[in-house]
């Protein structure tokens, strides 16, 4: 799915280290930063994928999903206690923004590259927020809701190796994402995540 989100300007500025009331930014400088952020927004093509799948078993080392898929992580298993299903989600900012970052870096414009990078990161994260909001709306009709937290492979004890199974289930190839034999997603600003589906009363 193509995802359209409001540009998370505040998060982008925060990611770049801006502190309100402390960082001094002249109007002309701010205009340049805002212009670059707007340009980045036009280059980012957010796409996402989502899939709800049933949980067969949860134990202290991980979870088993329908189809025999195992996700290994104690902290993930803890988060999912009480859930009967998981939402697998994936998002990407697209290749164009990575090309633009590379182009800026190679032409010695790292200032531009860091801003494009910040926009791509925050928008990709924003895409996951969007997917969760979207799925939550649908789940409410079935008296369910998502866990507030989500886990991404590569952090905590949720190793990158888990990403392959999620990549396959989400068919992320259809949104322009590939996966290396080291389970790294390409383009770089691509991410998968897991949230739990629980009952709403």
């Amino acid at each position: 799915m193509t995802i359209r989100i409001t540009l998370p300007v505040r998060s982008i500025y925060a990611r770049l280290g801006f502190k309100k009331g402390v960082t001094e930014l002249k109007p002309a400088e701010k205009e340049k930063v805002d212009k670059t952020i707007e340009e980045a927004k036009d280059i980012v093509h957010l796409k996402g994928a989502a899939h709800i799948i049933g949980i067969l078993q949860v134990d202290h080392v991980g979870i088993e999903l329908e189809g025999g898929i195992i996700l290994s992580s104690s902290s993930l298993a803890r988060m999912l206690s009480g859930c009967t299903q998981v939402l697998l989600m994936g998002a990407t900012a697209g290749q164009n923004i990575m090309d633009a970052i590379a182009q800026a870096t190679s032409s010695d414009n790292l200032t531009r590259a860091v801003m494009l990078d910040a926009v791509a990161s925050e928008m990709t994260d924003g895409a996951l927020d969007w997917i969760m909001d979207y799925v939550n709306q649908d789940l409410m009709r079935r008296v369910q809701h998502l866990t507030k937290k989500r886990f991404s492979a590569g952090y905590g004890d949720f190793y990158l190796e888990n990403q392959k199974a999620m990549y396959d289930l989400l068919r992320m190839g259809t949104i322009g994402v590939s996966i290396t034999d080291r389970c790294i997603l390409i383009p770089e600003k691509s991410v998968t995540a897991v949230a739990g589906v629980a009952a709403l009363r």
């Binding site: 193509t2 860091v114 080291r182 629980a198 009952a199």
Partner: protein, 808 residues
């Protein structure tokens, strides 16, 4: 009495009460967690009937069928495929429960897919999907339809068009907005209202997502622009978490207390969504008893919309520019692209024109050898994805017009409908079906009417025909017809007379195709701009023109002020003040700084382009390159580092300063060599992002900072395995190896990398960093830690100084 009239009568009598949530009610009757209400309803008809009866007894005037997800894309997830039968049965159950007490609305919800151009589901497939559902619901006996909880305007349009093409039933369209008034897909309240009421929705409004308090504000915002009644179906507040479980907190009494405020805000149909119960509805009815909702305040509205923006045509408002550049005439590049079915140039034109001030974009793809219908459809979809500006569909072909109108996710403007007898009815019918506004072209034969008088007759004739299709003057914009003054010296005056007549007598909006007036003349821009000024003074509403003409846009802004169409001259002032202002102001006085001050300031301010000239001047004044580096540039970059650490500077400012420093170094490099100084003499640092990790922006920043501070940097890139790292270390013999990792799971490779280098016998220091790396972790693997590029320089200098002291 047919049901449409019944419902309209009911609305005139008072507030129409809808029902509440179905899911929570079925759950109370034993529906398992995660079960689809439709499946449960099919298997347990008595349960769903009991839910309907609960709401009927509570006083609902209209109940919804339990068919929200009963479409071909959702039902198969639960093992059902006979969409028609499921809808028919569930509608019949609702009808049986309702009897004569209430009306039954066939409930239609999202498919879970996104419709082109925002997703992969074709518009026609979406229409077919909804027609399937509609037909089942009709056979089950529904009285009307409700399309609800929609976030995608295109999907909503598909459902509404499906209903229109199968029946003439009363239809309620309700979308889900967040507190800011946008759907998840970015459609704002006003654009949703303008699009759907124009397309034929009998009621428009919102449901779900928000509680009553938030939704009242949304209704209030819609009210001034609604020519149809408004509906609201809020949740029972927002779900709260307690002891790990989520629930709806708002009880019936509190929920119903908002009823009068909804009526005051403009709602004429009111119910409840997630978390509400028959008790909520019963008390809502009670609290609203006797209240008289207001009828719609407007009968018609002159506005066009995209999926996320509305442009209102306000008499007396600033002139609206319709960008003309997406037109292949005279544009070889665009012609080539269109023939190859590529659209990037059209997309660029769209973005550029909007940046320069076009509020609406004219889309014309007419050219020999092109399938105009197919191309127009595709370009409209692509531009709808590229920009929020509403579109003006410019074609003389009826089939192309229909294809574009059908797939356009908003309320379009048609350019144009003329008085030509053989196509007039067909075009008016199309415009009416899709709810479009249109430009009325006062041409009825081969000859273009020369005089304003001749044009008026055609305008009145076409308008009289348009009335039969339900149009009002708010729905049309008269093209005052601009002809070349080079061919007819009085042409411009006739156009101006037409504009004036439309504005003062006929009472309609006007448009001109601006550049026609200057055809055949030199320096056309001045003729166009002057004509525009005159036309604005006579009341012209909009112009099809090139917004990238600075003269034109400047004159437009000034003319709006002079004609009283730019209140307080705010748009004019905003246009001309600041760097965006196109008119060059007086040259700013250059402060009388010394070259040394300017070098220092260039680094502090990150002025990459401003460092070379003062460097040259300083050298010419006799300063050595070394002195410039040691006394000015290095102190400046260190000052920047301090400002960054205090957060007075943030990352872009730090990098801009570092890049300025780098540029200064590069410019000074020959001089430094002459003076026998290496600009990278402090030491060698080899950088890499570890195996398994491809994030490198942090590493790149560290590299830049180190270079600026006199280090020789070798960057091995990202996802560097231990073997490559070892080989490079043997080759370059660095003083320091810097490793970066962003993820906890790749961070472990730092330890292995450090171990493999140490085991090989190579002697060097290690410096690690990255979002998840900590000082403790660094220490545990025998490395040093730096949280950012500024700290990396300090640590590297410290390590080198230690090494040098050790070597003494």
């Amino acid at each position: 009495m047919n049901t449409k009239l019944k419902i309209q009568k009911k609305m005139r009598e008072g507030l129409v009460i809808l029902d509440g949530a179905t899911g929570t009610q079925l759950q109370a009757l034993g529906m398992p967690d995660g079960e689809s209400p439709e499946i449960f309803g099919i298997k347990n008809p008595d349960a769903i009937k009991a839910v309907h009866q609960g709401y009927l007894e509570a006083g609902s005037d209209i109940i919804y069928t339990c068919t929200f997800g009963a479409n071909r894309y959702k039902l198969p997830q639960y093992g059902l495929t006979d969409v028609h039968e499921v809808n028919k049965r569930l509608a019949a159950i609702a009808k049986e429960a309702a009897g004569k007490r209430a009306l039954v609305a066939g409930d239609i919800g999202p498919t879970g897919r996104f419709v082109e151009p925002f997703g992969d589901l074709s518009f026609e497939d979406a229409v077919v999907c909804y027609k399937e559902q509609v037909q089942g619901l009709l056979e089950g006996g529904v009285d009307l339809f409700v399309i609800e909880t929609m976030i995608d305007i295109q999907e909503t349009r598909a459902a509404l068009i499906a209903i229109k093409e199968v029946s003439d039933r009363f239809t309620i369209c309700s979308m889900t907005f967040d507190a800011s008034g946008r759907t998840l897909n970015g459609t704002d309240l006003l654009s949703a209202l303008i699009t759907l009421q124009a397309l034929g929705a009998d009621v428009v409004g919102c449901n779900c997502s928000a509680g009553p308090k938030e939704m009242i504000s949304l209704i209030r915002q819609m009210k001034p622009y609604a020519k149809v009644p408004l509906v609201a179906k809020p949740n029972a507040g927002l779900p709260k978490l307690k002891e790990g479980k989520a629930f709806f907190e708002m009880g019936a009494e509190e929920f119903s207390s908002f009823g009068p405020a909804f009526v005051d805000a403009g709602a004429r149909l009111l119910g409840g969504c997630c978390g509400t119960t028959p008790e909520h509805i019963r008390m809502l009815r009670k609290n609203c008893d006797g209240l008289k909702p207001q009828p719609p305040q407007v009968k018609s509205i002159g506005a066009v919309s995209s999926h996320a923006k509305t442009v209102m045509f306000e008499r007396g408002g600033p002139l609206i520019i319709i960008g003309e550049r997406i037109n292949p005439t005279g544009k070889k590049d665009l012609q080539q692209e269109l023939l190859q079915r590529k659209f990037s140039l059209a997309g660029s034109y769209a973005r550029d024109q909007v940046k320069k001030g076009a509020s609406i974009l004219d889309i014309n793809v007419g050219m020999p050898g092109l399938d105009e219908k197919g191309a127009l459809r595709e370009v409209v979809k692509q531009i709808a994805l590229t920009t929020d500006a509403p579109l003006c569909i410019d074609t003389s072909r009826v089939d192309a017009l229909e294809a574009a109108l059908r797939v356009y996710p908003g309320r379009a403007l048609i350019n144009s409908i003329s008085g030509e007898e053989n196509t007039l009815d067909e075009r008016l019918k199309l415009a009416a079906f899709y709810g479009a506004m249109f430009i009325l072209l006062p041409i009825a034969g081969r000859a273009v009417p020369k005089t304003s008088f001749e044009r008026r007759k055609i305008i009145k004739d076409v308008y009289a025909k348009a009335l039969r299709y339900g149009f009002t003057k708010d729905d049309i914009i008269v093209d005052a017809l601009t002809m070349a003054v080079s061919a007819d010296g009085g042409a411009a005056l006739e156009t101006l007379k037409t504009i004036d007549w439309c504005n003062t007598t006929f009472g309609s909006k006007t448009v001109v195709g601006l550049s026609n007036v200057s055809f055949g003349l030199p320096e056309r821009k001045w003729v166009n701009a002057s004509f525009l000024a005159m036309a604005i003074s006579d009341g012209l509403t909009c112009a099809i023109a090139n917004p990238e003409s600075i003269e034109l846009m400047s004159i437009k802004k000034a003319s709006d002020v002079l004609a009283g169409r730019d209140k307080d001259a705010s748009a004019f002032i905003s246009f001309f003040s600041g760097p965006k202002g196109q008119v060059p102001g007086p040259e700013k006085e250059v402060r009388d700084k010394t070259s040394k001050e300017r070098i220092y300031q260039a680094v502090i301010e990150g002025d990459r382009d401003g460092i070379q000239t003062p460097i040259d001047k300083a050298i010419a004044e006799g300063l050595s390159a070394r002195a410039l580096v040691d006394e000015l540039m290095v102190p400046a970059i260190r000052k920047v580092g301090e400002l960054y650490e205090k957060k007075t500077y943030f990352l872009p400012q730090l990098i801009a300063s570092a890049e300025t420093m780098k540029r200064g170094f590069e410019h000074l490099a020959p001089r430094l060599n002459e003076e026998g100084i290496s600009s990278a003499g402090k030491g060698t640092v080899m950088l890499a992002t570890v195996k398994g990790d491809i994030h490198d922006i942090g590493k790149n920043i560290v590299g830049l900072m180190l270079k600026n501070n006199g280090f020789h940097v070798i960057d091995l890139g990202k996802d560097v395995d231990h073997e490559a790292l070892l080989e490079a270390a043997r080759k370059h013999n660095p003083d320091i190896i810097g490793l970066s990792a962003l993820m906890t799971t790749t961070m472990v490779n730092m330890q292995e990398a450090v171990r493999s280098i140490k085991d090989s016998g190579l002697v060097c220091d290690f410096l690690v960093g990255g979002a998840v790396v900590t000082a403790d972790y660094a220490e545990s693997i025998g490395a040093n830690f730096a949280k950012d590029g500024v700290e990396a320089v300090r640590v590297a200098e410290y390590l080198i100084s230690l090494k040098r002291n050790t070597n003494i």
